[in-house]
Point group: D2
Chain length 244, copies 4
């Protein structure tokens, strides 16, 4: 059965800025989705959803039909309705995977799942970034042979990144300007698997990069649901253990 992926994009920059449109003419979501299709082929079915759609394109039935949700947001985090955030949150706890990209660190859904501020340092200088793999053997990086890969021009995201200690640290980034960043982190919340992956930018062609695409495909495979139904409600167990 293919992994059912939904790529969510706030889809604003692409309509208002020519420099963004040049890199992502159909929207960032279209390039992320194309990368997943390219890497996963028949192993995934990929669709997208955007802020301007009814219920931001994420009504109940779409979420119920989604195994892994990718989240790109940047300038309009506050425009995302709390009701939709509640719904995405509930689905993550139920088992839906969530891959939060780049500026999504400040999204309502990521901050709610983390319980911290999620802020960081940043610098838009198109500088060199090296992503070091520090969890060899992790399924997300199963397709990599080298110790690191590089992005020639990247937005710097630097520590201190105000997140809880991640369950697994997969990537640490090095930036030419002097910073480091925990750029690939996993978190388990309820039955859901959450992966934060830092690279991404609206005018750098990050999601066209072959290595980035391999990471996103690995993340989709890893975050797909597994395991028992989520136990969300309080349960008053009146009867103690009966004899065998």
């Amino acid at each position: 059965m293919p992994i059912r992926v939904t790529v969510w994009n706030e889809f604003l920059h692409e309509k208002t800025r020519a420099d963004v449109r040049r890199v992502y003419p159909e929207g960032i979501h279209a390039v992320i989705a194309a990368g997943l299709v390219e890497q996963l082929a028949g192993a995934a079915s990929v669709r997208s959803a955007t802020l301007d759609q009814p219920e931001h394109g994420l009504p109940y039935d779409v979420l119920a039909d989604t195994d892994v949700l990718f989240w790109w947001g940047h300038a309009a985090h506050e425009q995302v309705e709390d009701e939709v955030v509640d719904r995405v949150h509930a689905r993550v706890l139920e088992g839906m995977g969530l891959v939060v990209l780049h500026s999504g660190h400040a999204s309502k859904i990521f901050r709610r799942l983390m319980g911290t501020g999620c802020m960081l340092r940043w610098r838009e200088a198109g500088e060199r970034e090296r992503l070091w793999i520090v969890a060899p053997g992790h399924p997300i990086v199963a397709d990599f042979r080298d110790e690191y890969f590089e992005l020639a021009h990247s937005e710097m995201y630097g520590e201190l990144f105000d997140i809880p200690p991640p369950d697994e640290l997969v990537f640490i980034s090095w930036f030419a300007g002097g910073e480091v960043f925990r750029s690939g982190c996993t978190f388990r919340r309820g039955r859901g698997k959450v992966f934060y992956f830092a690279p991404g930018h609206e005018t750098y062609p990050i999601y066209h990069d072959a290595n980035v695409r391999r990471v996103l495909a690995g993340a989709a495979r890893w975050a797909a649901p597994s395991g028992p139904p989520h136990v969300a409600d309080a349960r008053n167990i009146k009867d103690p253990l009966e004899p065998v």
Copy 2:
């Protein structure tokens, strides 16, 4: 310098139920505070705050003057104002320790810090509980010599406990009726240290128990602030690294 502790209690049961008043005539907070004073003596200064006070007894200056906040709530989680929750949350991220007790698992502040539902199984059967220490060498249990301690009559709290994987697991509880529980868990959020400790009940004399009091004292010591100031804001670092 003494650790400045504030014990918060919703303080409702004690006013309305005779069975609770019998065990906690001055309020649960008074017994928790007495236990801390007994164990920590001059190493701590302890005060309390309750739901019915203005701003629930937790205005800015009280929180600013608190190193470790203990939290007892049960029947009135929803009556806690969101503004106060915001304030406590911000102080935890800044470095204030937080010790969440028993039914506080369902409090607004704990659920916000965890990002999950925090629900669990429970049974009020006054059954036997054994708390096994699984993090030997942890400062919270520095005062214990044995592998476990017992509570003869306890409310069962059982797995699955819907929390993120704790940073450190200090206690696992065994219950006569067939359940286990991660009953002592630490979490780091921002600069703040959070400890969840499960034992407690409004009619069982849990906070009169000598071992429970030793755990609470260890928790106060461990959760007291340390480390660098918290970096909460996003920081746009325009200039890259200057040469040495």
Copy 3:
């Protein structure tokens, strides 16, 4: 491509004790292997190896051809040659999965990978054990619908279990006699994934149990290698970063 599993057994009890032979006439390894074949069918190819074979049945080419090694040892840990332990250790760091069963907690290979004593409490009373799932959504327990499963007659293994804090805690066991145990734990070592699973006994029919078999199958799937080649050697990198 099927997962290549090798089940290792010291295979002594079965030859000398009639009570063991009654439950495991062909050896414990045969029943473990049969369970894996039953659960994984064509997704795994399963063979076995035993202490009395040359190089304990684990020469280089067998290990090189193994994705996941299951380890059963009990009475003869010290008879396992250090050279074979070195070889298994190296293969785990390279990426081979290792599933350590029951009394394998005291094996040379497990103790070497953990760096601790790995001792525990135990009691042979055929008592009731309940295994609670505390990592919902973990691939190892993907086939379970309930919060726990039971073994009617089990050997008690109890805390304190002298292991490093596990990377992931999947099961906590409850025993009728008053103990708890971290009975399903994962550890990452080098590129290899290690799973310790506590149930098992030479005269209780644990490996005939359907739920135990489902866990072992989940463990085989989870522990199969993934990720980049292991970087085992020190690397003197003479040249610093060249310009882009």
Copy 4:
């Protein structure tokens, strides 16, 4: 009661190389010890031990009288007797803190405690290192106000560092030449706390640096023993739970 610290040094380079003697005329251990005394004053009593002493200066009574052992080794790891390694190992599991410095990553004791190869990349280019604090609020960095500190000339140690996932990641280092490193890591083993801290070199004056000294002092405070006696032996518990 002061923390009883023993600083161990293999003490070879200082005798044979003039360039090392220039920076550490009395031995690296003398400068590390002086830094601890400077920072901790009466809160610690500090002595040293070296490879050339009987039993490498670490007979039973010295270890029994040590709360925290600092370990510096570089060129002579293989000359450390296994019997002394066994003894240090046993004391760590019992509760003695261990702070492993720089090239001690390849020492017998560290590799035994980790269970992995512990190898890494390195480059002796006297390049700039920035140590980013990623665990704000951790006691080891309680004395720091800034997000990072720098060493102008340092030996590069880079990922992949072949260690188990640390329990807590306190520092990530950035190097001018393009590498990152998990340069401050904690590990719990038995009752003992282990801290690996990467900076250090025999000809760079790293242990004269004020910030490095503050880290070492914080490590001594943090690693000092606490908690219940270590449970090292297997325990056959014949009797199940007696009724209350």
